[in-house]
Amino acid sequence: MKSKIKYFTTHPMILILVIILIFFTPLALFSPGENKERGIVIAVGIDKTTEYEVSLLTFIPTANQSYKEQTSLISGKGQSLGEAIYNAQIAMGRRIGLAHAKTTVVSESMLEDDICKSIDYISRIASLPENTVFISTDKSAKELLQANDSLVSKTGLKLEQVINYNAENLYISDTSLEAFYKGYFGRTHSSIIGSLKLKESPSSQGGNSSGESGTQGGGESSSGSSGSGAQASSSGSAKMEIENNGDAILLKNGKMVAKLDVDMLNGMNILNPRSKHQIINIEDIEKDDQLVNMGYRVADKKVIINTKFENGYPLFVAELILSVDLVEIEGVKEGLKVNTEFSNVTNEVATKIEHKVKQQFTKSLNLIRECKADVMGINDTFHRNNRKEYEKYIRDNGGVDEFLNNVIFKLNILVQPD
């Protein structure tokens, strides 16, 4: 016995190990499962009317025989975002964990003020990950999250997958919260976020409204203000449908300054070599003695950009080589037809495509000039290529926001068959 005691005293680490095991093992064995204490939030929605409303699409891990995730939408209201989250937490009966939140939706009303101030709270304090998809909706964020369930059941797609497709093919930039912050804290304080619309589903229009079957839960707000509190509702009660038109919202200093449609987005991305597969429709092309409309697809794109200051003015020269495919001919006699023999680009076609692209670019450029929101990165390009002249110029000519208005653009387009 003595020798054993001596062994333990000469090897204190074993003793420490035993103590740690005694201390931690019961804690680990008897503490309830993490999912019983913490609600796993997979999407967050933020609305603002007279007060904030935070809606949390929560994943409930339950055993079932289908692949469908059991989700529940829980919301809380409050005078501040912190209070709204607190009330949502009460309704959920668990601590909220935002680490797995893949989508964050804000209503357009939230974008009337600087959204960064609101979102910064849940991003930094409540640990919302920066790689969450950050989008807006024309109705309320809560309704969009409710409609998410019908989207999943109908198309098998999730919100973040829909918006990721837009991001890759339309916005040509990330639509994560991080991307928003990059734009917000960037040189021009401008960014683009995705937008999804909501429309009433045909089934609910006939009065078959199964929605809004929310159950009251949680408790009254601690501030006691009227209307504050928490609600929990089933996610299967969606009566709205998500409509994805590829739209986006242009933000300047965190506020919405314009809504962008697909044409505008394509115009902005003309000089982006990653942006491909757009369809360019041209009209009244003469073919076989008749006028037809044609649709061309951008198969490949090469962009050479050169920036310089000439006579004190910033000059942006871009050479754009577009490789296009003919995908559609619309004439009196002909319907859809892809004809490889006809894929050569005539001078007339090239001129019309060039004209169309320039028109699209000018339209988009005018918009971002008007909004003073340089999301095309013109300022950054000048800063990178001609830093001294650029800094002197913005010092003498009204700053970064005015710079884009003074840039002279020269766009040379060469259209060739793919």
Binding site: D174, S176, E178, H383
Partner: protein, 430 residues
Amino acid sequence: MKDTISIRQVGVLMILCIFANKILLLPSLMYETSKADSLWIILFLFAIDLLVLTLIFKLKTIYPTTKLYDILQNKIGKVLTKIIYLILLVFFMFKALLVFSVTYVYFKHQIYKQDLIWIALISCLPVINHAVMCGVRGFSRTMELFIGIVLTGFIACLAFSLFTPISMPYFFVNQGKDLLTSCYRHLFSFGDYIFLLLIIDKIEFKRGDFKRIYKYAFSGIILTLLLFFLFYSKYQVTAFMHNNALADLLVFSVEFNAVGRLDIIAMLTILFITLFQLEIFCYGFYESIRGIFPLLKKFYATITFDIIFGLLYYIFIGKFEIMVAFASHYLPILAIVVNYAFPILILIIYLIDMRKVKKNRENVYISQDEISKSNQNTNLSSDESNVALSNQDQASSEHGDKQKENSLSEKASTLNNQSGLKGGEYEIKD
């Protein structure tokens, strides 16, 4: 057990020292004041650290087995030596506190979401104490075993960042004043090589090992620079928002959401690195307190570390911002003393000793010439000349390790006689 460490183990210690306090919070803190130009600042500070490293091993060549305490005591006296050791004690204590605070806050935000300081302390302190009790050889060998895992995790974090869009950060956007301010504020995160001075007598070092030392040092420095560069390239203007550089490099963009969370790689890497760094700093504390109280037993020294650590941490619990502000406003003064003033003192000691060594060598040349002349004249036997030569050496070698120098002179004279080299052209081999 022989308490010495090999050059490979020194290399492992150096890499961990380089990572200390630089892989989580520092990149974002530096970005706030000096943007991406922080890279030049850390490059500059690393260059100074490399000079200090060179100095440490130069000193090692003069004092192969002498303790730092003995070297200082011989040169500047007991009182000043104890004061220096007291400063080093404070230095290592705050280093440990800062490393622990930053990592604890990271884990708190990533996993626990609530204060669980006691769990952290209970899991951490006994391991650190045990490492110190085992001695520098013990924990160095442990680190040697795990360094592969640590470096793999570290490189994986860097490599995964390449899956997200990165672009070259903007350099040279700051004024000199901003750079100097940033440099001063973050001095405390550098100068960790000083730890090697405390264990200078325990390092098995040969002259040819310089290359290996630099190889390890450059590996650590390059990895840290890559971390800074990739972090600034990935986050750019939002770098100031991301407080956990190594872990945040792993965060995928939306395109990679399907892959899931790979934070576990960063977590394990950070866990090991922090634990090892704490062991190093705790040992530094132990060596320092042993310098002040030579009779203090190892066990009580580690207990003292735990008590001071606990008390200081208790003051800073929930006040992480205060700790960080303290580290960037007051601790740089301590860093100037330890990272720069102290190495200058060591440099002076080294230069004085080198001068003496050179003088001794000159004396050896002269005496060798004289002996050879007198040998020719008086036909003295070679054995007698060797004795005379070694006597000359013995008289001249007043510095540090007399016995070592004496034996070296003997070896040299023997070699001279055997190989017919001219006076002073001898090779010293340990």
